[in-house]
C-alpha cells in the first residue's frame, strides 16, 4: 500500500482520532489524538490490510523551542549582521510541528508482509504528560517507553515497571528536554583528590 492509501485507510477507519496527516518526503505520517492511541495501535497491528507487526521505534520530541532559536548573524561581535543564506527552497513545505502542545510522542511502525512504514505522532501536553502503554501489543515497547520516560518524563499508563533505564536512580530531571542545559552534571562521585 503506498503512503496516501495507507493514510486514507487510517483516516477512514478513525475519523475522530486523526487530527492531521502528511506524507512529507514520502514518510506517511498521521497525527492522532491521545485518547485513541491504543485503538489505532491495535487496529494497525491486527488489520490484515495493514499488518504492522513491527513497532520499530518509539521516542518523543520536545517542540518547546521549535523555530525560536535565534539565527546567529555573521560577525555579530563586530556589529555587522549579515543574514545567513536562505534555506534551500522546498516545493511542498512541511506542515510544521504536529500541534501546539509541547511534546509529541513518535511511533514508527513497519509491516514485513506489506513492506510499508507508518509514523504516528501523538501530541502530549506538558501538564498531563501521560499516554497508554503499548507493551500489551508489542513487548518491545517496554524498554522504549522506559527510555522515553527517562529522557522526557512522559509516563505510560499500564507499563509493568516504569523506571529509569539510561540514567542512574539519583538523577533529577529529564535530560533530553530542551530546558535541561547540556552540561548540568549531577555526579554520584565528586572529585576525590
Amino acid at each position: 500500500m503506498n503512503t496516501s492509501s495507507l493514510i486514507e485507510s487510517v483516516k477512514v477507519r478513525f475519523p475522530a482520532a486523526v487530527s492531521a496527516f502528511h506524507a512529507w518526503r514520502g514518510d506517511a505520517t498521521v497525527v492522532v489524538r491521545r485518547e485513541f492511541l491504543l485503538e489505532v495501535a491495535r487496529h494497525l497491528k491486527e488489520d490484515p490490510a495493514l499488518k504492522m507487526n513491527y513497532l520499530m521505534d518509539l521516542t518523543a520530541v520536545d517542540y518547546s523551542t521549535f523555530g525560536k532559536k535565534p539565527a546567529p548573524a555573521l560577525f555579530s561581535s563586530s556589529g555587522v549582521a549579515v543574514k545567513p543564506a536562505a534555506q534551500i527552497p522546498d516545493e511542498d513545505p512541511w506542515p510544521g510541528p504536529p500541534s501546539s502542545s509541547r511534546f509529541a510522542v513518535v511511533y514508527h511502525f513497519y509491516s514485513t508482509a506489506h513492506k510499508h512504514r507508518l509514523r504516528l505522532l501523538v501530541p502530549v501536553e506538558e501538564t498531563a504528560a501521560q499516554l497508554d502503554s503499548l507493551t500489551a501489543l508489542w513487548p518491545g515497547a517496554d524498554w522504549l517507553e522506559r527510555e522515553t520516560w527517562d529522557m522526557f518524563g512522559i509516563a505510560f499508563r499500564g507499563h509493568p515497571n516504569l523506571k529509569r533505564i539510561l540514567m542512574y536512580e539519583g538523577f533529577e530531571g529529564h535530560p533530553l528536554r530542551k530546558d535541561y542545559p547540556v552540561n548540568r552534571r549531577q555526579p554520584l562521585i565528586g572529585p576525590v583528590n
Binding site: 512529507w24 518526503r25 514518510d27 505520517t29 507487526n53 513491527y54 513497532l55 520499530m56 521505534d57 521516542t59 520530541v61 520536545d62 521549535f66 523555530g67 532559536k69 539565527a71 546567529p72 555573521l74 545567513p84 543564506a85 534555506q87 534551500i88 527552497p89 522546498d90 513545505p93 512541511w94 510544521g96 513518535v106 514508527h108 514485513t112 513492506k115 512504514r117 509514523r119 508489542w138 513487548p139 518491545g140 517496554d142 524498554w143 522504549l144 529522557m151 529509569r164 533505564i165 539510561l166 540514567m167 542512574y168 535530560p175 533530553l176 547540556v182
Partner: protein, 459 residues
C-alpha cells in the same frame, strides 16, 4: 519460598521424599564482567545452576549522543555517529548522512553510492568478525579470537587506506564522502579479502565440529520468530529465527538493488544458527564489495582544470595577502593531492553539486572568490548546512539490524532532534526471555551472539 520441612516427620514414607526447598540466590553479573562486555548488569535469580529469571540493567555507557547532536551542526554530528556502533562505524555514518540528505531532498552521484556501499559492507565484515571472535573467545577458543582480530586488522588497513583512520573514520559528509577511493583500490581489497576468507575458513574448521563449541551453542538462547518480531528484533538475530527481513532487500537504498547478494536465514533461532548466519553474511558482504568494485562508474571526470599557469595554493594565498594581485592573475590554484577535499576532477563524482551543502574542492576554495564564499558560508558557526524545516526517518541495515535515524529540523544550522533507532536495543530488551530457563553457563554464548554494542545501546 523457604518452606522448612515440617519438623517431627520421623519415618519418611516410601512416597516421594518431601522436596526440600532451596532459596534462590540473587547473583549480580555486573557491569565489570568480562562476558558482559563491560557495561551490562544482569541480576540473575539462580536456582543452583539454572537461571530462573534475569533482570537486565543498561545505561552504563549513556554518553548523551542525542543531546550532543542538538548542540553541534549537521556535519559536526558525524564524529558522534562513528561512536554509536563503533564496531561498524561506517554504516552509522552512511545512515545519518542519508537521513539528512533525504531531509534536504538532494541525491548524491552514482559513484558516491557505490563508495558508500563498499565501505559499509567492509565495515559489516569487521563487525561480524569481532562478534564471532569475541563469542568464540568467551567459550574458550582464544585462537579463533586471535585469527579473527588478525583478519580485522587487514580490513582496518583497507579502511585506513580510504578514510585515514582505522575505526573512528568520520568519512561520510552530508551530501557526499570526504574523499574518493584511492587509485588501484581493487588490488589491496582483493588481497585483504583473500586473507579474510582464509581466516574464516580456518575459524569454520576450528569451531564447526568442535564438540565444546557445538554443545554450548546448540539449543541455547532459543527464540521464536514471532517473539523476535514482537520485540522489534531485526538483523542477523531475527534471520537466525527464520524470518528473512533485511532492509537492503526489503527497502533497498543506495545501489543495493543492483548488487547481487543473498540473505542467509536460519531455522532454529539458537546461538549456533546466529553464528552460522553471521559467518555466511561475511561471505555475502565480500561478494557485494567485489560486485560493486566491478560495476563502479569511473572516478576522475575531467572538469576544466582551471585555465592559467598552476600556482601552489598556499603561495597564492600568501601573494593575495601581500596584495600582489598581478602575480596571481591568470593563475589557477593547485592544492597538494593529499589535502582533504582536493582533486577538482574527482569532486563531482563523490559529492552533490548543491552549493549550499558540500564544501567546494580545495582548488576552488583557495583559487577563486566563489569557492571561497561557498566554503566560508559552510564553515562559519551557525551557517553550514541549513535543511528546510521537516522530519524524516531513514532506515539502514546496520550490523545488528535495522539502524534508523529520525531527524527533525527547524531550519537552523543544527539539528533540532536526532533520534537513533538502535538495533541491539530491541535484542537486549528480549534478553531476559532468552536467558531464563537456561543454565548460567549458557548466558555467555547467548550474550555473545546478541552482539550488544554499548555505544549503540545506551547512545
Amino acid at each position: 519460598m523457604a518452606a522448612n520441612p515440617t519438623p517431627g516427620t520421623t519415618t519418611a514414607a516410601r512416597a516421594e521424599p518431601a522436596q526440600l526447598e532451596t532459596r534462590d540466590m540473587l547473583l549480580n553479573i555486573g557491569p565489570a564482567h568480562p562476558a558482559m562486555h563491560g557495561i551490562i548488569r544482569i541480576v540473575a535469580k539462580l536456582d543452583g545452576e539454572q537461571i530462573r529469571s534475569a533482570e537486565v540493567e543498561i545505561g552504563y555507557l549513556h554518553r548523551g549522543f542525542e543531546k550532543m547532536a542538538e548542540v553541534v551542526d549537521y556535519n559536526g554530528v558525524i564524529p558522534y555517529t562513528d561512536r554509536l556502533n563503533y564496531v561498524s562505524p561506517l554504516i552509522n555514518n552512511m545512515g545519518y548522512c542519508m537521513a539528512v540528505e533525504k531531509l534536504l531532498g538532494i541525491t548524491v552521484p552514482e559513484r558516491c553510492h557505490y563508495v558508500r556501499v563498499i565501505l559499509s559492507e567492509i565495515s559489516r565484515v569487521t563487525d561480524h568478525l569481532t562478534c564471532v571472535g569475541a563469542t568464540a573467545m568467551e567459550l574458550g577458543a582464544f585462537t579463533v579470537f586471535l585469527y579473527m582480530i588478525k583478519a580485522r586488522e587487514f580490513l582496518w588497513e583497507l579502511v585506513e587506506k580510504v578514510t585515514g583512520a582505522r575505526m573512528t573514520v568520520t568519512y561520510c559528509r552530508v551530501g557526499g564522502v570526504k574523499a574518493d577511493l584511492p587509485d588501484g583500490f581493487q588490488e589491496p581489497c582483493r588481497k585483504a579479502f583473500q586473507e579474510t576468507r582464509k581466516v574464516i575458513a580456518e575459524a569454520q574448521g576450528l569451531l564447526q565440529r568442535n564438540r565444546i563449541f557445538t554443545d554450548r551453542m546448540n539449543g541455547t538462547g532459543v527464540i521464536s520468530a514471532e517473539d523476535a518480531v514482537s520485540y522489534g528484533i531485526t538483523g542477523p538475530f531475527l534471520r537466525a529465527c527464520g524470518a528473512d527481513y533485511d532492509v537492503r532487500k526489503d527497502c533497498p537504498y543506495a545501489v543495493y538493488d543492483r548488487l547481487p547478494f543473498d540473505v542467509p536465514v536460519g531455522t532454529r533461532g539458537d546461538n549456533m544458527d546466529r553464528f552460522l548466519v553471521r559467518m555466511e553474511e561475511m561471505e555475502q558482504s565480500m561478494r557485494i564489495v567485489e560486485a560493486a568494485l566491478r560495476e563502479i562508474p569511473p572516478g576522475p571526470v575531467l572538469v576544466n582544470p582551471g585555465t592559467g599557469r598552476p600556482i601552489p595554493a598556499a603561495e597564492m594565498v600568501d601573494l593575495a595577502k601581500m596584495g600582489k594581485i598581478s602575480a596571481i592573475t591568470g593563475g589557477c590554484a593547485v592544492a597538494c593531492p593529499t589535502l582533504e577535499g582536493s582533486g577538482r576532477d574527482r569532486h563531482p563524482s563523490i559529492a552533490t553539486d548543491e552549493k549550499r551543502v558540500f564544501l567546494p574542492p580545495k582548488e576552488d576554495g583557495y583559487g577563486n572568490i566563489e569557492g571561497l564564499m561557498q566554503q566560508f558560508k559552510l564553515v562559519m558557526h551557525g551557517h553550514g548546512v541549513r535543511p528546510p524545516k521537516g522530519e524524516v526517518y531513514f532506515p539502514v541495515e546496520g550490523a545488528n539490524g535495522e539502524l534508523g535515524f529520525y531527524v527533525v529540523s527547524d531550519g537552523s544550522g543544527s539539528a533540532y532532534r536526532v533520534r537513533v533507532r538502535p538495533p541491539c536495543f530491541a535484542i537486549m530488551s528480549a534478553l531476559h526471555m532468552l536467558l531464563s530457563k537456561d543454565m548460567i553457563a549458557d548466558m555467555v554464548p547467548t550474550f555473545g551472539s546478541v552482539n550488544m554494542i554499548g555505544g549503540e545501546l545506551d547512545r
